[in-house]
Symmetry: C2
Subunit: 571 residues, 2 copies
């Protein structure tokens, strides 16, 4: 066995990393040593000769980092473009939930993602999207039921069940949802259970779900940890929970073996400007977490939870996936300089060797949307004085159900810039049913025009929030014309637009172009008065029926805690 | 789903444990609560009603304990008898390596163990015995090669590879041994690599082996942990490493997530008089280890290493395997009072409800041994003045190669009680080849008579250590007549004997009877002058060719470090 010959030092390695300061999470020490590589794996650690030598010059070497939960679609980039940026920041593997594309394009969307994720600089492991649609209150392209889940495992597209978001159905023992969980078998069954505690949590866990990434508060995370769940501490672009949840580790460092840091939702701009798992490391280091403990939560802990026995540490037989920092200790700068994947250098001096070239084409969107409501259709007749409104708060994916006084004009409830209330419309777009719903949202800051998107979790119908009805209708028409994308409108004019041809979710553009387009769109959105960061991401989550409290889909207002469709007027 | 109905509190549970102080390893706290049970699983933790109520009266409830490595055969009890005693002490699962019976009876022995381990009060998970025989220097009943290993996995007898003891072959890249490892696939590949460090350890690990239970010294354990191995800290009947290795945990408590405590070899008497995993807990508590950290290493850590996602903690969906202590805190007494397995009470007030009844019969030993050497045959002609002798040290399975001055009488080297040297003979017993080897052993204390056994790791041929040749030959004849067992002889007389009809390794007797018989045998052994505790266990390990330094098999002296057969006379 050649790898054993190399490990013993009797045969030169294919590649030797010389003079690396290997960060060892078991000893909490750096080990100045060489790493011998053969056939994409680590053969040994010690003093070695090799056919190719890379001199680390005493800089820190860490295992390739692992993101335990991310939705690639939400970066609006293809898997290849995403992987290029993620690799640049030292990521070697991600556990991706493809439920966005699965909502938009069904099983064919999942298959596209799988195809487009082969041979990338980051290993992309897909979970079986467990909730397509997320609930009965959402209208997806097609339902992926327990037989669909079963076939994903049989075809080996997946080795874990992606976030089981329909927690009310799990808690209530709904057979169609339990069947999905059991169809997955003895694999990591990942969860999504915001605010679920006490007896409801017991019921949720009784199905075997073993992790959660929706803890916004420390006490919630403490309870879930206590009940045996692995905690995925989310640090996304717009929902940063890391600083809030770090006391879990400070209270008991052993909890680092049951916690990992995940992204969930990040944008192209976030990736380009801030980074990926390195961002999480920097935050933990700023917060004074022991560097080796922090490192464990982005390397070994996710590898262990997902049973990836071939990675997560620097040791013989493990994949030669590692990153070299530009410093000789792990400190708050935490800058990845060079990256190796499967024993090949793919990043040098913060630049990728071979930028990703698009090879795979997604299935086309087959439905053209022609049934678009008119200005008259989306008027809200004043049936009372107090309306329900979706309450948006910066920095959390949770919303509130607010009861607010309606602004009434000519017998219709309308937007109210003085009280930060805008109108919001969702239009079904997968079957051209023409079904739509109208509601109100508080806290976005819109005082003129409208912002619209075909990225609207999770069913990804068209969502438009706007001040006046004309701007809203203009945006809906533009979304239909583009076949999906982002739009900002003002009256009859389209201010800016960005087409997303892959299921109305993603672009074929390169990362910098995606980021630039999104920046243009966000700047245009600011001109409507929106003040909240990542306005399109925030907008997109207002449709996600499985997160408390009030949401809106094409079927109307939804409050998952109250368990059904809610009226616009309270009284 | 009924379990969800129960978890929510909407339906009474089948069983409720009331007022338990649940030891929670994530919070390091006791939680005074009820545990609801349905269909052998935990449904919820909180306040519950149930059809059957057990009042824990505020006593501590812990998860059923897990032994990560044990050889059941070495207790000389059947799996059923072993499980009865282990359950009494709070054990719910063991990872058993059936390599003793596999050496003695081949694949049919393994199948017997598997058959005899169904529906026991302890779940017995067998590993695929990776080294039958342990090395080319041992003569087993049959060789279990890579195709045999492959079929064990295909037939689902096993989910992990049992200790890969042939570390020289792994390190040297021997294809027949690497093939066994690869045939196992992506399962926990458990190791056995005493004194293997540095480049040799790299080579051993390059095959993917991920744990070790042979660390006798702290530095060795530190290096293996650093290289990514899970450390099985052994606390067996005669090889206690726990106190030595506990600094691993004191240095970095996070290491508790990579360490577990295991038995390896224990006797019936040890089980009856001292206990099983509870012994390990008591030692850790005496040593001042945090009780919750200690508990983790006998519950969650082995469950995680062996990917038993259904156990190891008290949480919804996990097996209702737990033990109730007789105290309201985990303290140094650590006494298990009541035990539940799959939600059924099997131990009450330290007594098992239904003692185990033997149901399964092992395959008969098919070879009758008739070729037995004579007194003349085992004389050692004096070919020099200095002999190699096996150096035995109390408390370690390791031996030394000692070069000692021979006592010469009438031209033959003989035993020398003044210098604590006895003669040792091994006779092949699986094929009646008549092959035998003679050597010397230092440190047993024998000054008259002989002790013999068919338990002689790992090939389990007949081994006899004795002072005079006549006693040795008497013992060999008795072993042949019994078809295997233990014997103490003096001259022409058999002092005591204990037949082991199951492969020459185990008895069908009940635990107390096995223990009594063994005690009689050990007392008889003391009358030969043996001073070392567990004399038959120590004797049995003198044949194990894969542990340094000097050993003896039917093929002669073996020193695995020197890599071959050694001569009796040095010069």
């Amino acid at each position: 066995m050649r790898i054993a010959d190399i490990a013993r030092g009797d045969t030169p390695a294919e590649l030797v990393i010389k003079n690396a300061r290997i960060a060892n999470i078991f000893t909490n020490e750096y080990e100045l040593s060489d790493v011998a590589v053969y056939s994409g794996k680590i053969a040994g650690i010690g003093k070695y000769d090799g056919d190719v030598v890379y001199d680390a010059e005493g800089r820190v070497l860490i295992p390739g980092m692992i993101d335990g939960h991310v939705h690639i679609e939400d970066t609006m980039m293809t898997p290849g473009a995403f992987a290029e940026i993620a690799a640049l920041h030292g990521t070697s593997a991600v556990m991706a939930d493809p439920h966005e594309i699965s909502n938009a394009l069904g099983m064919s969307g999942l298959q596209y993602m799988f195809r487009a994720s082969q041979d990338l600089p980051v290993d992309v492991f897909y979970g079986a999207p467990s909730c397509v649609p997320a609930s009965d209150y959402e209208s997806a392209y097609e339902e992926l039921d327990m037989t669909a889940i079963h076939s994903m495992f049989m075809k080996e597209y997946t080795w874990h069940l992606a976030e089981m978001m329909n927690y009310p159905a799990v808690i209530n023992g709904d057979a169609s949802v339990w069947g999905k969980i059991l169809a997955a078998g003895d694999v990591p069954l990942t969860g999504h259970a915001p605010n679920v505690t006490g007896y409801a949590l017991n019921a949720y866990l009784s199905a075997g779900i073993s992790s959660d990434h929706e803890c916004n508060e420390l006490d919630e995370a403490r309870e879930k940890l206590k009940r045996g769940m692995w905690i995925m501490i989310r640090e996304g672009a717009s929902f940063p929970n890391l600083r809030t949840l770090l006391p879990l580790i400070r209270e008991n460092v052993l909890n680092a073996s049951r916690c990992m840091i995940v992204s969930d939702d990040i944008t192209a701009r976030y990736l380009l400007e801030q980074g990926h798992m390195d961002v999480k490391m920097r935050i933990m280091l700023e917060e004074g977490i022991n560097p080796f403990v922090a490192l464990r939560m982005v390397t070994l802990s996710p590898a262990e939870y997902f049973r990836l026995s071939d990675r997560g540490i620097i040791a013989p037989s493990k994949l030669a996936d590692f990153a070299i920092l530009d410093s000789d200790v792990i400190d708050e700068k935490f800058t990845v300089n060079d990256v190796f994947k499967n024993g090949r250098q793919i990043v040098r001096d913060k630049e990728v060797f071979s930028p990703y070239e698009q090879e795979h084409i997604a299935p086309a969107i087959k439905t053209r949307i022609t049934k678009i409501p008119s200005v008259e259709d989306i008027r809200v007749k004043a049936e009372g004085k107090i309306i329900n409104a979706i309450g948006v708060t910066k920095g959390t994916v949770l919303t509130k159900t607010l009861e607010l006084e309606a602004k009434i004009e000519n017998g219709y409830a309308v937007s109210d810039s003085e009280h930060n209330i805008a109108k919001i419309v969702v239009l079904e777009r997968h079957r051209n049913t023409g079904r739509f719903a109208v509601g109100f949202v508080h806290g976005l800051g819109i005082h003129s025009g409208a912002v619209g998107s075909s990225v609207a979790h999770d069913a990804h119908n068209f969502v438009v929030a706007g001040y006046d009805d004309e701007s809203i209708i203009t945006a809906l028409h533009e979304l239909a014309d583009m076949g999906g994308g982002l739009v900002v409108s003002n009256g009859k004019n389209v201010t800016e637009k960005f087409a997303l041809p892959i299921g109305g979710l993603m672009s074929y553009l390169k990362p910098e172009e995606v980021s630039r387009e999104l920046t243009i769109m966000e700047d245009a959105a600011v001109r409507t008065g929106i003040l909240i960061p990542h306005p399109f991401m925030v907008l997109s989550f207002l449709c996600l029926s499985v997160i408390p409290e009030l949401r809106i889909t094409d079927k109307g207002y939804i409050d998952i805690m109250k368990g059904g469709i809610q009226k616009v007027f309270v009284r």
